[in-house]
């Protein structure tokens, strides 16, 4: 399959600093109650305030749990590793792990953010998502 287009899984959840080569995930932080949410919200689910700002989330976290997916939806290529990753901001993300073999997986392992394809859309479009890899 020849990939002609690359597309972000969601355009509003990434931050690419000009000075750095590593992207960040964006959360929202409530101006009123300071709650941080991911994916980012335009208003605060915790306190109902309308004002939130985008904040770059930590690029590092720890694995809370993981699962090896062997049967999946069209467009995805099994097997792959799903995981919950906990960030220091108190956020738990559903993500994929990459760069680690199945027998090296462990709960509590330290991981960092990378951008990688997660699936194909149609014949020629690659969807780029966020994954974490061992430090």
């Amino acid at each position: 399959m020849e990939v002609k287009k690359r597309q972000l899984v969601r355009p509003d959840i990434f931050f690419f600093p000009e000075s750095a080569d590593s992207p960040y995930l964006l959360g929202s932080s409530c101006q009123a109650c300071k709650s941080v949410h991911f994916p980012p919200k335009n208003s605060c689910p915790s306190c109902f305030a309308m004002e939130t700002e985008r904040v770059a989330l930590s690029r590092r976290g720890t694995v809370y749990s993981y699962a090896i997916v062997r049967q999946t939806q069209p467009g995805f290529q099994a097997p792959y590793i799903l995981a919950y990753v906990d960030l220091p901001e108190g956020i738990r993300l559903l993500t994929q792990l990459t760069g680690v073999s199945e027998n090296k997986l462990s709960i509590g392992m330290d991981v960092e953010l990378v951008l990688e394809p997660v699936r194909h859309d149609g014949d020629d479009t690659e969807i780029i998502g966020f994954k974490f890899r061992p430090l």
């Binding site: 899984v9 049967q71 738990r92 709960i107």
Partner: protein
């Protein structure tokens, strides 16, 4: 978090208080269902008719006594309730169609309960119906890729595999213990004429079936099915008038999950709703004789037994292995019907099929799988799909005979 319910009252006085408090008590007058399975040749109307006729026959009432109908399904087209009811002469009454993911049936039933409780009607029909053979092209329920978790590769078995892995790490639960849920489920289903599967499976067969999301193998996942289940609910007055063997709904609690992106706000939704149900009934988990819970995956049965307080937190796997959830085991008989794993899962119909099993158990009519001295039953019907919350809908009801 384990549900800690003090045993407030002895069972008898609890039931007495329940009755006294329930001047508008609600009872199940009759239940009926089709066998669940792959029946692409049968229309939803056909399935619905069979279940409704069985429930009306079981209740022993004239169909014209039904004053409202609640119809749960997930994938059937709009107006499915009206479409099914018209050819049974059940027309002119309020018909309310309900979609609430895999808890559509439980929700429809709880709406019927609520209408009777509020004295909006005396007798109501709750129907759950689905034809996944007709509605879905592939085996896996498709998730909405606009949901970020689904877009990142989440599928339902993986959601439970993530929970299973954590449970194994924290409590030492083993893949064999999860697999034993299916062994028990198939064994129970052999005695349920309405179940999809009527063959036993050995532990080795369950473990050796295709891996779906470690440690969940194929036989530890429910199967898509077609079918319908119906219940006739009535007020206490209607119960006295029409039936000699009513089953009382002493508590009906419901809720949805809370946003779960922040670790500090995480909760066990089923435990919260179960707590409400136990409080409302004045009954504790130790009083439950039989339970039908939402085991779309083997792992779910282990987790929900803990959420519902049927065993201490972390002990679900060991209790399963010890046979405590078997029919006439040491503790509570769980999913005597075979549950979702072996009865099959026609999404919208499942909640009412659970109710039917519990009614049969409480009336002593569950031949071959009957629980001895069966007096108090718990139903747990759950539906997910919006991944940012733990569950779209959780319905928990307590029944007594």
């Amino acid at each position: 978090m384990m549900v800690m319910i003090p045993r407030l009252l002895a069972l008898n006085s609890a039931l007495y208080n329940g009755r006294k408090a329930m001047s508008h008590g609600v009872a199940v007058l009759g239940v009926g269902m089709t066998r669940f399975g792959k029946m692409p040749e049968r229309t939803p109307e056909d399935l619905g008719h069979e279940a409704i006729r069985a429930a009306i026959r079981d209740a022993g009432i004239d169909r014209r006594k039904i004053q409202a109908a609640f119809v749960g399904s997930v994938y059937l087209p709009f107006g499915i309730g009206q479409r099914i009811l018209k050819d049974l002469g059940l027309t002119g009454i309020p018909v309310i169609n309900v979609e609430n993911s895999c808890a559509s049936g439980g929700t429809a039933m709880r709406e019927a309960y609520a209408w009777i409780k509020a004295e909006l009607c005396d007798v109501a029909l709750a129907l759950g119906v689905e034809s996944l053979s007709r509605s879905l092209s592939s085996g896996m329920i498709p998730l909405d890729l606009d949901d970020l978790a689904a877009a990142m590769g989440l599928v339902m078995p993986a959601a439970y595999a993530l929970a299973a892995r954590r449970h194994m790490e924290e409590y030492g639960t083993t893949p064999e213990q999860f697999a034993l849920v299916t062994v028990k489920s198939r064994s129970n289903a052999c005695h349920n004429p309405y179940a999809y599967f009527h063959q036993e499976l050995s532990l080795n067969e369950v473990l050796a079936s295709r891996m779906i999301a470690d440690p969940i193998t194929k036989y530890q996942c429910t199967v898509n099915a077609d079918g319908a289940a119906a219940a006739i609910l009535g007020s206490e007055k209607a119960a006295r008038q029409y039936t000699a063997r009513p089953v009382s709904i002493v508590a009906s609690a419901m809720g949805s999950g809370k946003l779960r992106d922040r670790i500090c706000a995480l909760e066990d939704t089923a435990a919260r709703i179960a707590h409400e149900a136990y409080e409302a009934a004045g009954i504790g988990p130790e009083d439950i004789d039989v339970c039908e819970l939402h085991d779309a995956f083997s792992v779910a049965q282990v987790l929900y037994c803990e959420s519902l307080g049927l065993c201490p937190k972390g002990e679900g796997g060991r209790y399963t292995q010890a046979g405590h959830f078997d029919i006439n085991g040491e503790k509570v008989a769980v999913n005597t019907s075979g549950g979702l794993l072996s009865r099959g899962h026609p999404l919208g119909a499942t909640g009412i099929a659970q109710l039917a099993e519990l009614v049969w158990q409480l009336r002593g009519e569950a031949a071959g799988r009957q629980v001895d001295q069966c007096k108090v039953a718990l139903q747990h019907n759950s539906g997910g799909g919006v991944f940012d919350i733990q569950t779209n809908a959780c319905v928990i009801q307590i029944l007594t005979h």
